[in-house]
């Protein structure tokens, strides 16, 4: 995993026209983006299509990338936009006004993750997206709010509801 400064250097090199820097950026992020998008695709060809389109767009618009942001976050935003563009039924997030619970539900253990896989795959896309971004990809609710253009509180409520739903499913 490259440090932030190494990644910034790679971006600078790519911007100055050094082609190997693009490949290094690709190799750093392809696995993460592919695995995430694969959770929403109906087959691997679709995942490949979204992944490569995300990289092409990111590289073509690299000059507009703000270096104070994380490249991974920017790439994921583009990847999710590509995916959502192709979906006939767009992923819609309702802004939920209720106050999120003060205490989140407890963390999943490694064993529970294994069992929960199939349940997570069956979740509606909006819940799956928030859940994976927070629990698996490690984004904060503030970042998810920016990524998906929803309120931070909405992200919290969706996550809490999804976790409760999963826990219930695991107990059955």
């Amino acid at each position: 995993m490259a440090s932030r400064s190494e990644e910034t250097a790679l971006i600078d090199n790519a911007l100055s026209g050094q082609q190997p820097a693009f490949k290094q950026l690709y190799e750093l992020h392809v696995e993460g983006l592919f695995r995430f998008l694969n959770q929403f695709a109906s087959n691997r060809e679709q995942t490949e299509e979204w992944t490569q389109r995300a990289f092409i767009k990111a590289f073509q618009k690299l000059a507009s990338f703000k270096k104070e942001a994380r490249f991974k976050t920017w790439l994921f935003t583009i990847g999710m936009n590509e995916m959502r563009t192709d979906m006939r039924k767009n992923i819609h997030f309702e802004n939920i006004e209720e106050t999120p619970e003060a205490h989140g539900t407890q963390e999943f253990s490694n064993e529970e993750w294994m069992t929960a896989r199939s349940l997570i795959r069956k979740l509606p896309n909006d819940k799956k997206m928030v859940f994976l971004l927070y629990e698996v990809e490690g984004y904060s609710h503030r970042e998810i709010g920016e990524l998906l253009d929803i309120k931070e509180a909405t992200s919290r409520v969706i996550l809490n509801r999804t976790k409760a739903e999963l826990r219930q499913g695991l107990q059955v």
Binding site: M1, E48, N81, W113
Partner: protein
């Protein structure tokens, strides 16, 4: 890369998949130092390739434009196919546009360049429209506007192709 327990190893891209994706990406990397490709449009090889591409692209453009402009009674499945055709056709057109510009005569170059600029403006409007639909939801009016933008974009491509067609 440290793997989260949620992801099984089979979900990572295989080396073959990674290579295949990279090959597609590499073809479209920005090349700041790209020198203009000097090709004579009368060359036998280029002339033939361009003619074949033009025929396929024109057929695609006409079919898709007709689909876009013949009302809203299209079934969902045919709309999916329509968007696939559209994406594929515009992708091909975008790829051959630099070639068309290179092979165009000096008389038509300014007109092609202004049409390319117009297509870029439309792309921006399409992007904004899609973002708006993503954030605020889809309405029939927005869908119609989006289709009109696509149709206008295709019209510009058609004009570029017709400009060049006369030279081949």
């Amino acid at each position: 890369m440290k793997s989260h327990p949620f992801y099984s190893p089979s979900e990572s891209p295989t080396p073959i998949e990674q290579e295949r994706m990279w090959n597609s990406i590499e073809d479209q990397l920005p090349s700041p130092e790209a020198a203009p490709i000097l090709m004579h449009w009368r060359s036998f090889w280029i002339g033939n390739v361009a003619a074949v591409v033009l025929i396929f692209a024109l057929v695609g453009v006409y079919v898709t434009t007709n689909l876009l402009t013949t009302g809203t009674e299209q079934a969902s499945a045919s709309e999916d196919r329509m968007y696939e055709t559209l994406t594929s056709a515009t992708g091909q057109l975008k790829t051959i546009t630099p070639l068309l510009l290179n092979t165009a005569s000096e008389q038509v170059k300014p007109s092609i360049e202004s049409r390319i600029q117009a297509i870029e403006d439309i792309d921006q409007m399409i992007e904004e429209m899609k973002n708006d639909m993503m954030i605020n939801g889809i309405t029939p009016a927005k869908e119609f506007s989006l289709k009109r933008l696509y149709a206008t974009k295709l019209d510009f491509y058609k004009e570029i192709l017709l400009d060049n067609e006369g030279q081949l």
